[in-house]
Subunit: 225 residues, 2 copies
C-alpha cells in the first residue's frame, strides 16, 4: 500500500520502519526535505540524523508534505501538534476521501507545566477534521510511544488496549484491521466519534506521568471491566 507520513521525527521514522518492513511503499513528508536532511541533530528515538536514517532506510523516501499526501492511499499525521495543520494544508486537495490517521498530540509546554492545546472541549483531531472535511480522520496510536505502536505484542506487557475514534465507521474498521494485520494489535477499542479524541488526547497527560514513574516510555494500559 502507498502510505504518506507527515513528519520526519522519531514517531514518523519508527512508523515508516514498521510499515516498510511489511512491504508498504512509504513517503515521509517534510516542509523542506533538503533542509531537514542537512540538519545534523540526532533524533533521540532513532539515534540518528535524518540523513543517516534515510541512508539506512532507502525504501522510505523523504519528500515534501504535498508529495507525501499525494503519494499516500492513506495519510498518517506524525507531525508535532502545532505543525500538523500547516503541514496538511500543503496537500489539502489530495486528502479528500483518504483515511487520515492522526497520531499526533498537541503538547503545549508553559511555565505552569506540560499540557495540551486544545484540551477538554476540543482536540487536535477535531481541528484537523474541521480544516479538511473531506478527509476520513481516525485518531489512533497517540496513546503509546513509537516503538510500541509497531510492536505491541512484545512491548508494554503485550495484552494492552489501543483506543481509536472517528466519525467514519468504515474508516475506523479499516484502520483497526491494518493495526491488527501490520503491527499485531489485538485489543483495538473504538471509543466513539471524533469528540472522543478529547479523551484520547487528554489520556496523554496521564501517560506522561506513567512514563516518569516507570522510568521508561514502554508503558501502556489495558482496559478491564
Amino acid at each position: 500500500m502507498r502510505i504518506g507520513i507527515i513528519g520526519t521525527g522519531g514517531v514518523a521514522r519508527t512508523l515508516a520502519g514498521g510499515l516498510t518492513a511489511k512491504g508498504h511503499d512509504v513517503a515521509l513528508g517534510s516542509r523542506d526535505p533538503q533542509a531537514a536532511l542537512a540538519r545534523d541533530d540526532v533524533n533521540r528515538q532513532t539515534g540518528t540524523t535524518l540523513a543517516g536514517w534515510a541512508e539506512a532506510n532507502p525504501s522510505a523516501r523523504i519528500v515534501t508534505n504535498a508529495e507525501a499526501i499525494a503519494h499516500g492511499e492513506t495519510v498518517w499525521n506524525a507531525a508535532s501538534g502545532t505543525a500538523s495543520i500547516p503541514a496538511l494544508e500543503a496537500g489539502a486537495a489530495d486528502l479528500d476521501g483518504k483515511i487520515l490517521v492522526d497520531v499526533a498530540n498537541p503538547i503545549a509546554r508553559s511555565e505552569a507545566g506540560v499540557t495540551l492545546d486544545p484540551i477538554g472541549t476540543d482536540s487536535l483531531a477535531e481541528q484537523i477534521q474541521r480544516a479538511f472535511p473531506g478527509a476520513r480522520v481516525v485518531k489512533a496510536l497517540n496513546t503509546v510511544t513509537a516503538v510500541v505502536m509497531i510492536d505491541p505484542g512484545q512491548l508494554a506487557g503485550g495484552a494492552h488496549t489501543l483506543p481509536i475514534c472517528g466519525n467514519d465507521e468504515d474508516a475506523k474498521r479499516e484502520v483497526a484491521g491494518w493495526l491488527a494485520d501490520w503491527f499485531g494489535w489485538r485489543d483495538v477499542l473504538d471509543i466513539g466519534d471524533l469528540t472522543a479524541a478529547r479523551a484520547q488526547e487528554a489520556y496523554l497527560l496521564f501517560w506522561l506521568r506513567l512514563m516518569q514513574v516507570n522510568g521508561s516510555s514502554i508503558v501502556s494500559t489495558k482496559v478491564v471491566r
Copy 2:
C-alpha cells in the same frame, strides 16, 4: 478510625458503607443536613433518598461539614468539584495535619461538552492544597466508579491499577495501606507529587468514554509495562 466524609451523594454514601463495614466511625458532612435529609430525590447510585439511606445505615451519621471535618482523624472529600472548597472551608482549622483524601473530579458541563475545570495546568487537588496548606492532600479513587472504590477485587476485572499522588510521602504511604487493608486494592501506583493530579483528573475524560463504550461504569485500566 474516625473518618469524616464531605458530601452525601452516591460516592459519599458508597464510601461510608464500605468504611462502616470495616468498623470505622464515619460521619458524612452536608452544608445543611436537615435540608438534605428532607429532600425526596432518589440517588441513582444508592437507589434511595438520603433519609432512606441514613435509616438503613444508622452507624454513619449525617452532620454538618464542620462537624464531619472535626470528627475525622482523616477527611475524605466526596463533594462535587465546585462544592469542594466551600464545604472544606466550613472546618478549615480542623484540617491542619490531617490526611485529606480528595476523591472528587471537577467536572464542568458546557454546550461544547463535558470537560474539567481546572484542566491541564492546574487541578482541583492542587486548589484544595493551596486553600488548606496544613492539610496533607492525597488524590485517590477519582479514577473509578464508587462501587469499584470499595471492592476492586471483585469488580472491573480485579487486577487493575489505582493511581494516587500527593506532596506528602508519608500520607501517600498511609493512604495506600488503608486502600489495601480496607478495600483490597492490590495495585496502588504512586504517580508523583500533587501536580500529577492534573493527569489523574484528566484521566476521567478518558474513563467517561470507556464507560460509554462499556455500557456500564464498572470499567477500569491496568497499567502494563
